[in-house]
């Protein structure tokens, strides 16, 4: 216990120390700095997914084949430490040359000048528009989308069969979903129709808010949408399911996550991402019992789309090489390779291999969703109001405070935070 808290304090101390000697030790690339001649250059490339590290290394090798003078060193930092480490490195002026970026963090890095905008004119129409918008700040594109994910309803066919409920069809509605959830719930067996998860807005609240016609943040990123009645309708969709006992209560979902409940056959419909394919095809229980359907329609059909992009450090010693690597990673050639082994590539028309890899699931669902996908809500300091979302909405999820009231408090808190950005 003591040791660990000391480590925590040490990390902070280290960051403080890092910022003090801001020149840093360089990221392996900065030390050589050949200015004119095309001498051998090593680029550092930071990623957070251990599963994708081999593919990234393959891509790096492919790039070096075409550019023999440039070597790429893939650096893996697990997700839990990725942003903490990156922030410390960037503060000390030693960020990797090229690195993975996500939506919630993007504007923070762009607005602080930590990443470099793309100067060359690129054809961005080959990527889904919401992803290009996600990585555009003040009219400038900063990163090329690498992969993408959308949301679907994973359902347990065995539980549907047992309850005599037909499988979800394309174009089904909120009412269809609610009715199915009611029929699938079997209190005696501890089985629930669905689970109204709170901790992961990308798969839950953001989707229903958009489907209800509401919004989380105004397009200019200045105003919260949580006091909009339609946004509140998108939240009530979930709290009503808890009240009706068609979803476990928040305490139960805190003790045992909805994913664990779904994989134990206790939840019939689980809202999850395209990234869950790996999990569900590998799990002994789910691999032959589940399939995926599109999200039900509210006032309109919608899913949240998100994807990782490759960005360049503003302080890279090799801007030309870094850009040519990012450009390569955003190319069709790279996407084709990624699609065989990794997540869904963002490059339009290269997703066939990804869909074909698991014929047991209707994976085309996730690609069809791109046509009606809505962007992931972000601002300059997304993390600040993400915390407020949890703090305020927990009270609505437990039933301690009415949804309208929690949402109003949240909107006020979020507006304050946005004003400070």
């Amino acid at each position: 216990m003591r040791k660990w808290t000391r480590v925590g304090a040490g990390v902070f101390g280290a960051i403080v120390a890092l910022s003090a000697c801001s020149s840093g030790t360089g990221s392996g690339a900065g030390t050589q700095a050949p200015k004119e001649a095309s001498g051998p250059v090593t680029l550092s490339y930071a990623v957070w997914d251990a599963n994708q590290k081999p593919v990234m290394e393959e891509l790096a090798a492919e790039f070096s084949k075409a550019n023999p003078t440039v070597k790429v060193q893939v650096q893996l930092t697990p997700w839990a430490d990725y942003w903490t480490k990156l922030k410390a490195a960037a503060t000390g002026g030693a960020a990797p040359d090229v690195f993975w970026m996500n939506g919630p963090n993007f504007q923070l890095y762009a607005s602080n000048g930590v990443i470099r905008p793309i100067e060359e004119q690129v054809d961005a129409s080959v990527y889904p528009k919401p992803l290009v918008d996600l990585y555009t700040y003040q009219g400038k594109l900063y990163g090329l989308p690498k992969d993408m994910d959308t949301i679907g309803v994973w359902y347990n066919k065995t539980l549907f069969d047992a309850a005599g409920v037909p499988y979800p069809k394309d174009g089904w509605t909120w009412t269809d979903f609610q009715q199915a959830a009611a029929k699938l719930t079997d209190a005696g067996k501890g089985v629930y129709g669905t689970a109204a998860q709170l901790g992961s807005f990308q798969e839950y609240q953001y989707n229903t808010i958009t489907q209800a016609g509401g919004y989380v943040i105004s397009p200019d990123g200045r105003k919260s949408g949580y006091d909009d009645p339609k946004t509140i309708a998108g939240l009530k969709f979930w709290t009503d399911l808890i009240t009706a006992k068609h979803s476990p209560d928040l305490k139960t979902m805190t003790d045992t996550t909805p994913l664990q409940l779904f994989e134990a056959g206790k939840i019939a419909m689980y809202w999850g991402g395209s990234w869950n394919v790996t999990e569900f095809s590998g799990n002994d229980y789910t691999k032959d019992k589940v399939d995926v359907a599109p999200l039900p329609k509210g006032e309109k059909q919608a899913t949240i789309i998100h994807g990782v992009a490759n960005v360049m450090s503003a302080k890279t010693a090799h801007p030309a090489e870094a850009w040519s690597f990012v450009k390569f990673l955003g190319s069709k050639q790279a996407a084709d390779l990624l699609g065989k082994k990794g997540p869904i590539p963002a490059y339009t028309g290269t997703q066939g291999d990804w869909v074909g890899a698991h014929p047991e699931f209707k994976l085309q669902t996730f690609l069809d969703a791109v046509s009606y996908a809505a962007p992931f809500p972000v601002s300059k300091n997304t993390a600040a109001w993400n915390e407020a979302e949890l703090t305020q909405l927990t009270k609505a999820w437990t039933g301690e405070v009415p949804v309208e009231q929690a949402a109003a408090t949240l909107a006020a808190t979020m507006n304050d935070l946005l004003a400070k950005e």
Binding site: T5, G10, A20, T84, T91, T252, A383, T398
Partner: protein, 317 residues
């Protein structure tokens, strides 16, 4: 050192000068020997502390670049309900942890009984949690405490009781945490008490026995008073450790940002966790620095208080 040089500079007899020189060289050697530790301490502890104190008076963004804001962070601290809440939880946790110290004395006394069979095995069992990773401990307890599938509620169900969701029910969460905290530090405290007991001379017990004191009376009249210096040490260390509580809560309340989706979070949040959230999650580092400075002052104050109070209850030999 400056004192000795000025003195040797005065017109004194040669032998005194020689003595001074040897004393000075001794002092230099002493300094040389503590230099590695001293330097490390200065660079890795003292300097960051000073920097943190400075940053607590600034607004500090995600990537450095700070602006002076004077005492704004401290004013905000005073009016922040989350700080009050975290402070209450932390102090309650500390107080309950302190109240559990006698438990370690009792177990140490039991393990100190002469001729106890399998004493090595018992001592190992009690000490095991101390050498186990806190994160692993927290994960296992999280499962034990699970409301629907946990072992504890399963056992309670066998006797017809319906147990709560221990770590996600605001009414039980903090106490559930205290149990794990006490359990995991019991072995450490116990070993220290055991060492303290074994340092008590046998003659005292013999004398007490001749005077007609039984084992219970001997425990309270001989062991407990002579163990008070050890108890003092344990309580100082335990208070500091409890005030810095972080990892156990971090894992048991649901790991990272999602922890806030735990309905019991307001009862579990500790000062260090709040500091972590401000420093690393919401990019509010100047304010985070103010939070740890507050914790530093509290730790120093409580430790000084304990040293003051020791006169009243600690007997040295």
């Amino acid at each position: 050192m400056t004192l000795t040089t000025t003195r040797s500079g005065a017109a004194h007899a040669a032998p005194v000068k020689g003595k001074d020189r040897s004393r000075r060289s001794e002092a230099l050697w002493g300094l040389a020997f503590i230099a590695p530790t001293g330097l490390g301490l200065a660079v890795f502890y003292l300097w960051p502390v000073l920097q943190t104190a400075y940053f607590s008076l600034t607004e500090w963004g995600a990537f450095g670049g700070h602006t002076w804001t004077g005492f704004d962070n401290y004013l905000r601290l005073a009016g922040d309900p989350e700080v009050g809440q975290a402070l209450r939880n932390t102090l309650l946790y500390t107080a309950l942890g302190l109240a559990a110290i006698p438990l370690a004395i009792v177990f140490a006394a039991l393990l100190n009984v002469k001729g106890l069979r399998g004493v090595g095995a018992y001592r190992t069992l009690f000490f095991l949690p101390v050498v186990t990773m806190p994160v692993a401990i927290a994960m296992v307890w999280r499962w034990l405490y699970n409301g629907d599938y946990g072992l504890i509620n399963h056992l309670l169900a066998l006797v017809g009781l319906d147990g709560p969701n221990w770590v996600s029910d605001p009414a039980t969460a903090l106490y559930a945490l205290v149990v794990v905290g006490v359990w995991s530090s019991l072995g450490y405290n116990l070993i220290i008490f055991l060492a303290g007991m074994q340092a008590i001379p046998k003659e005292y017990y013999e004398a007490a026995a001749i005077d007609g004191a039984g084992p219970i009376r001997q425990f309270f009249k001989v062991t407990v008073p002579l163990l008070s210096p050890t108890a003092f040490f344990v309580s100082v260390v335990s208070v500091i450790g409890s005030l810095q509580l972080f990892d156990l809560v971090y894992v048991m309340s649901g790991s990272g940002a999602a922890a806030r989706a735990n309905p019991a979070f307001p009862r579990l949040q500790t000062v260090v966790q709040l500091f972590y959230d401000r420093a690393f999650v919401t990019n509010d580092r100047g304010y985070a620095a103010a939070i740890v400075m507050m914790l530093l002052v509290i730790i120093i104050a409580l430790t000084v208080l304990q040293f003051r109070l020791q006169r009243r209850w600690v007997h040295y030999g």
